[in-house]
Subunit: 335 residues, 4 copies
């Protein structure tokens, strides 16, 4: 079978990860080219992996008629313009989250993709995590009946710098956006209304930068369910990623993945391992699975598992949450 | 040592439970008398337990100069008037929750108790549960540093009848009131502001009766922490009673008590026991401990572990939650 | 209903425990009399509990025609002679384990009980533990198919004194005897052959006293299953009591009961509570249930749940284990 | 840095796995050649992976002066002759377990390796499993003090065919050999004496083939500890791989790895995921780590983590276990 030829735009941490995952795990794909503004810094790495072309200008990828699909892993502000160019060039697109923080620009991407008829997938990798997928599958299979309460615990092991907080768009757009996607994924429903309570408890500098670091976001879903996300920028025991869905026929919950299952019992107490600390370690396999599913969607010409709409909705929820925080009341999510 | 002589007012389910717990477990106490409007129905039971006097009029207990302390286990609307009479009669008082649903009447009780200088304890038994007490003790010991997020899951195994829902004062006053006490207990802080999201998802008849059966109540605490309570009137797998406190130095959580620790692994999956179903079974020991602590407070002349203020505050939070639900915004808790 | 009148012989730790359990929990029974060689030391305690008669000579109980049943809680060497006298006096007998360490004397007890037609139960309380009973019930219900492997972990929190070790009959008769009963209970089969490996690893003084403190006892059952018991006299983390039954259709295991389900996660690790430390705490409810079932057997005239044969068999297994240890080979259990 | 050039001999399931693991995960290594008697069947696969040479005769690898190291993944009877030839050719050797079932031939390999001064590692991959390694590390760090009791549960999900049982050398050499290695690894001590109890409970055809399918093997270690391995050829719930080490200062145990941490609670009970079913899935990462450590030993010229002696000892223990089973008594392990 002819291999799908892929170009990767942006070779930072996530771009490199995707490149290695594709080469090591997805044999139906050939990573032909990679582009990065600091092309010279990645040449040895790319060569060792067997990637033929390293460009400093991503247009070299878009202009290559052999390229079937691209992965956009460059900085956030470039996601939407590159998406639009790529769609026009007829390339299938895997775009890291978020598409953009500007609604008009997101809609422009969605329109361009639709017009071009190319596949488009947003990098909400957590949907592909073994634990969360198991929950979703059981919910979909009706194991808990109608969902009544959706709960997401999402706490980072370490806060970002205050400088990053200033430019990140705020915790809701930068961090909670994954959880907004998760509640849609788990509930199978759109979010109708949001109420956010938040505080600066981890680092005062984050507050001075105009952001929060601890939050509880209450959600009402269109299917009648209610939900809550709790966030902290700093869980000293590691990356805390749990969900629970409760419904008319039961409840499902997941616990954190840990390094080993070893349990030590002594006169001091019973000790077990902490949750995996780093998101790349915790979500390692999900990054592979999301790409497998993207290329399967191309090969079998079916809808991608995380569509452009799935990229848009969490941004709308985040905007409502920000507004709720300012106004101290529940805010409807824009349609 | 001279035994403390006790009278019990009200011999329904909880009055009988307290009588048996005292007689079987607390040897420093003598249950001398019990009063119930249906005195004839409890005579055999009381006799078998060795209780000397069974009255139909509780004044017979209040008028007995030998009685040191009373337990008020009669219907809710009688709690405050009996409390006031008992305080005037110089009896120490253990009063089932709630003191009252009327703030003026609660304050009248608190005043009467203060004036009389008698001990007064409210029956928030969950504080004495082994699991929740362990969490509270670790929080108090600074194990998690400053509390940031308090979470309470409190779901009943079966909904009340719609008829009961009509007269119960609503879910927040009837059921969540225990959780409002729990968040104060766990956080060591007063609640400042409340936002309630709720729905009728379990039984439409409850909605027709003007109440809700599923809720998420977000709380802001005076110490800066935030919290959330999730309630359902119907968890088909049993009585779901869990808490989690997350802070600057870590997190503590508890899981449900289960009937046995037996785990069965077959080709079908891995099966374990459900949470204990009934509150009397789940909280069995806490009902004994709350009484032990009450009588210890009398014997050692120290403050009771659940004071009149502890009885008042959850009612104020419940009122704020009800208002929030009506108005769709966060409501300050009255001081 | 007329209450069963009970006399208790021996008022040490276990005799007192049974007395209190009967009085506080089993309303169909009246503890009329108690006998102890140090009668004067227990008079206040017995009086406070409402026990009418305190004797220094147990014959006063056996000679009381009103007494229906006795509990033998005196020192081990008195179990068999008192059992025989009591049987002749027509009393139902609950006898603490072991019946005796001499096979002829055990058989004499079994004969006397049979001749007299009285009920006889041996105090293997662990059969009545909620966890082990759940395992047994599932095995009996066929949940794991045919049992293939039976595993018992039984470790004490603290070793006995070397002095006690000298007179105890050895670890197999003193401690493992409970586990020999447990494997019969769980497997539903008799033990055919035993191989014991053991060592002195906890306290050299125990070795000098001629005993062992750490052991693995392999068992072959008549139904074809195999099993292993692991014992230690000292598990520093508490009383370690677990079982596992593995079979053709699956496996069942139990974990230890712990003080609270609270789990603390910090930067140092994840900490949970230790197993309950003391056997009276761990097996608290089982001591009540074994008595309930004994008196139910009397009331309903049915076989007791732990018969004389159940008292005999573990002694036979212990003898075989001792012999195996001496000879370094597998030993058949005497029929 | 110059890459280590590797040849793989044998391209069955495990040979292919090692090839893919090396290529995808260990960048310091180049898989230059692979040899298999059915060379034509693997050409496409090898070509797609970028392996230059595919031979039908493994001597082509041994004769290639560029090859630094080989992996022996061919059938068991070829392990020792190829090892000896490879040692003479000066190649470092990673040899799948077992080296041989004949002691003289094992010793010949050990001698050849010693004479040649090449590295030699045996493929006991379970030592590199995250769970077992965590236990070993804690034992080595003294967390449980002196080891007293070592327990290994090792149960396969499905029995081999009776035909395979006939030629496999028996369960002890074929399956338990991993566990014999594990107890040495965990205890840090040699096994002194073995007693085996076993039965045919899974498949009568295995018995007819002269083998057993269920076993308990008791071990005495030279450091005084005792241990037990329990084996079954068929755990219907999946691959059951657990260990426990108990000592003077505490105990450590591990539970099985499962597919997801999702737990479903319904009115029927609480359901969780089964252990991973297949050894390649369960031990996935251990196969990569063992190779990383092998090549690190080459690069840093240090001892391999599983030496020739580590390959020999489990065979000696297995022989003792077989003899014990025949003679019904404990057997010393040959030095």
């Amino acid at each position: 079978m002819k291999k799908i030829k892929v170009g990767i735009i942006g070779a930072g941490r996530i771009g490199k990860l995707h490149a290695e995952n594709l080469i090591n795990n997805i044999s139906s794909v050939e990573v032909k080219s990679i582009a990065d503004v600091f092309a010279d810094k990645i040449e040895t790495w790319a060569h060792d992996l067997g990637i033929k072309n390293v460009y400093s200008d991503y247009h070299d990828i878009l202009n290559d008629p052999e390229i079937d699909a691209i992965l956009i892993c460059s900085s956030t502000n470039t996601h939407s313009p590159i998406s639009i160019e790529a769609a026009k060039a007829g390339k299938h697109i895997f775009c890291e989250k978020p598409i953009d923080y500007d609604l008009d620009r997101i809609h422009a991407v969605l329109d361009a993709v639709k017009t071009a008829g190319v596949k488009f997938q947003v990098g909400f990798n957590r949907r592909f995590d073994h634990n969360f997928k198991a929950v979703r599958d059981m919910v979909q299979a009706g194991k808990i009946g109608d969902p009544h309460i959706i709960k997401v615990t999402s706490r980072d092991p370490e806060p970002p710098s205050a400088e990053y907080a200033k430019v990140s768009g705020g915790m809701f757009l930068d961090m909670t956006i994954h959880d907004f996607d998760m509640v849609r994924y788990l509930s199978g429903s759109e979010v109708d209304e949001v109420y956010a309570a938040a505080a600066v408890l981890v680092d005062p500098a984050i507050g001075e930068a105009g952001d929060v670091d601890t939050a509880l976001i209450t959600l009402k879903f269109k299917n009648g369910a209610i939900g809550v996300i709790d966030n902290s920028r700093k869980a000293v025991y590691g990356y805390d990623q749990r969900v629970e869905v409760f419904g008319s026929k039961g409840g499902i919950s997941v616990s954190n993945d840990i390094g080993s299952s070893a349990v030590l019992s002594t006169s001091e107490g019973v000790f077990s391992d902490k949750p995996k600390y780093f998101f790349l370690e915790r979500y390692k396999d999900s990054f592979i699975t999301e790409l497998k599913d993207f290329f399967e969607a191309i090969e079998e010409d079916k809808e991608t598992p995380v569509t452009g709409i799935d990229g848009l909705k969490p941004v709308l929820i985040a905007f409502a949450a920000k507004k709720s925080l300012l106004e101290g009341r529940a805010i409807k999510v824009e349609d």
